[in-house]
Symmetry: C2
Subunit: 337 residues, 2 copies
DNA sequence: TTGTAGGCGTTATCAT
DNA sequence: ATGATAACGCCTACAA
């Protein structure tokens, strides 16, 4: 009982018949490392061309248990750095033969559902980019357990079941702290991102520790509890607008660019302060907007390409337990501090 | 000859056995509109829970010829509006049961390859967002019947094989032109995006036509040939920096926000001009950054949610040939013009 | 409402 | 180097 053929569907059998070979030979012709004679291959390819045949990835995945699919979970689209990371990831993955499933995870519970549905598509790995995924959930969640490989991107994770690909935040922030000190700032304040228990972004602690070590006292910090520039804007305005100028920090060290840009806008447009003359500012991520003359943001750039390539090596199983959580980026010094 | 079982793979058969029903009953339990007794369903669900069973979407897609997968092709990550669109599309699609395959199409040729690989995954539709995809290429892709449905998002397309979901650019730009005229500007210049033969963005022509109709003369235009803020910056600088102030336009009408923001930066930081006092500016898209106090950009917001929902209705086949190329957005008036 | 047969298009494995 | 058999896990159509 043959069902109606799917639209424009040509199978390996059709090609095999036309080429006068078996279906398996057709298949071999389409893979690089197959033992097949040149003659057979060209014959097959010709027939395939003629019929417009291309292998069906769905069937292939089902049979081989490899999907060449990676799902990327993102929970925060207010941060422009997400766009940069997505561009890089999708580009490198595609170049290496993987397609990317982009999942917009609405909230924490949803992340689990997303992981689950990713596993139902048999993704080769799930990559998590964002702060809303905490290590505990990642370890215990039903969805997480069913995914072959779970990768935390651009953030360190202590969960033993996940691999994390990220810069060495401690080293990076130490560089930044040195720069701040070298520039002669004396009264810093840190603006931190979400303070979830287990999203181990070490930047805040590193800055505070390093500063304390160098100067003998521990600066304060505030947080908008998110990486949203608007929220940072409001927080900075509310925190500083009524403060006497003499008490203001001389530099705001921000956990990332999204926060730094919001902070910069508030300082400038709510309080009429000049950057860096009246108050300086640093970020992290090096988003394109931070380079604009509005900000000229001093920041830190992660080696995203290398990090994406690390992901590929994990997918290929060529990582041999290598540690990818200590990438070294680059301090980008501009005018903001 | 049983192959080794995939990691943690539980099939409907296992559940069936445990629940004491047939495999097909298990299957029915997992779909909403199936005729199955409550008793059978709860029994199945319990067994499924116990074994950690979830249906395999790959096998399901293969058998049903429906993947619940949409591929979204994007060719330009410099424009921040892409992030907004992706957020909306992925959210609405997911809510409606579709997963999103994000494809970063590296260049024009690549678009075809991307469409091909999408078809190999049997996506239910391919959605194209960007300027680098021209109607002819899209036409041939469809001609080869590679993709079931081809949707051009946020841009009109004349190709009869594609559906386009977009605002009525003519209406939108007419609104904008009226606003510009009402504000009393007299010497506008248009900054256009890529001038590919078949990317029918009508904004430029509409503005020029409307202005001519109202004022009796046709303004000039320039183009950075892309929606990249940096390129717009350089173009505006190079075009105007040596021009006597008296000859400068009094308003730059830009095809979108990405261009407008680049232009604004150039005017301000290369030429020391104030916006809107010395020269005014309008954009299109209403990206978040345009709302910042740096720009306070007068712009136009598309109804992205409704547009994404239109996509869903197309996927569901509930669109009965409806026309989705005349959505109405909203003029967002801020300080830049 | 439930069960059965056949098929979706490929790949792993073994045999020639 | 090539061919053949048996899965992969589910869905459609039909029968009971």
């Amino acid at each position: 009982m043959r069902r109606e053929r799917a639209l424009g569907s040509v199978t390996a059998d059709d090609v095999a018949e036309l080429a006068g070979v078996s279906r398996w030979t057709v298949n071999r012709a389409f893979r690089k490392e197959a033992s097949i004679s040149d003659k057979a291959r060209t014959k097959v390819m010709q027939a395939a061309e003629e019929l417009g045949y291309t292998p069906d990835l769905l069937a292939s995945s089902l049979a081989s248990d490899r999907s060449n699919l990676v799902s990327v979970l993102i929970d925060d689209f207010a941060n422009p750095h997400k766009l940069v990371m997505m561009e890089r990831l999708t580009r490198i993955l595609r170049k290496s033969g993987w397609d990317t499933l982009l999942v917009n995870t609405l909230d924490r519970n949803d992340a689990n559902a997303a992981l689950l549905s990713a596993s139902q598509r048999r993704v080769d790995a799930a990559v998590v980019i964002g702060s809303g995924f905490n290590d505990n959930d990642l370890g215990t969640a039903m969805g997480a357990r069913k995914v072959r490989k779970l990768v935390v991107f651009a953030r360190s994770s202590r969960n033993p079941n996940t691999v994390s690909i990220c810069v060495d935040d401690e080293l990076a922030m130490t560089d930044m702290t040195r720069h701040v000190i070298a520039r002669g700032y004396e009264n810093p304040m840190f603006i931190a991102g979400p303070q979830t228990q287990s999203a181990h972004v070490m930047r805040k602690d590193t800055f505070l520790n390093q500063w304390e070590k160098a100067k003998g006292w521990r600066p304060g910090f505030i947080t908008p509890n998110s990486y949203d520039p608007d929220k940072a804007y409001r927080l900075v305005r509310d925190t500083f607008v009524d403060m006497p100028r003499s008490k203001l920090p001389d530099i705001l060290v921000c956990e990332n660019d999204a926060i730094a840009m919001g902070a910069a806008d508030a300082l400038r447009y709510e309080m009429g302060l000049r950057i860096p003359d009246d108050i300086a500012l640093t970020g992290f991520d090096d988003v394109p907007q931070g380079a604009s003359p509005h900000y000229r943001l001093t920041t830190y750039r992660m080696p995203l390409t290398a990090m994406a390539e690390a992901l590929v090596s994990i997918l290929k199983g060529e990582d041999n337990g290598k540690d990818f959580s200590h990438f070294i980026g680059k301090l980008v010094i501009r005018d903001s501090a």
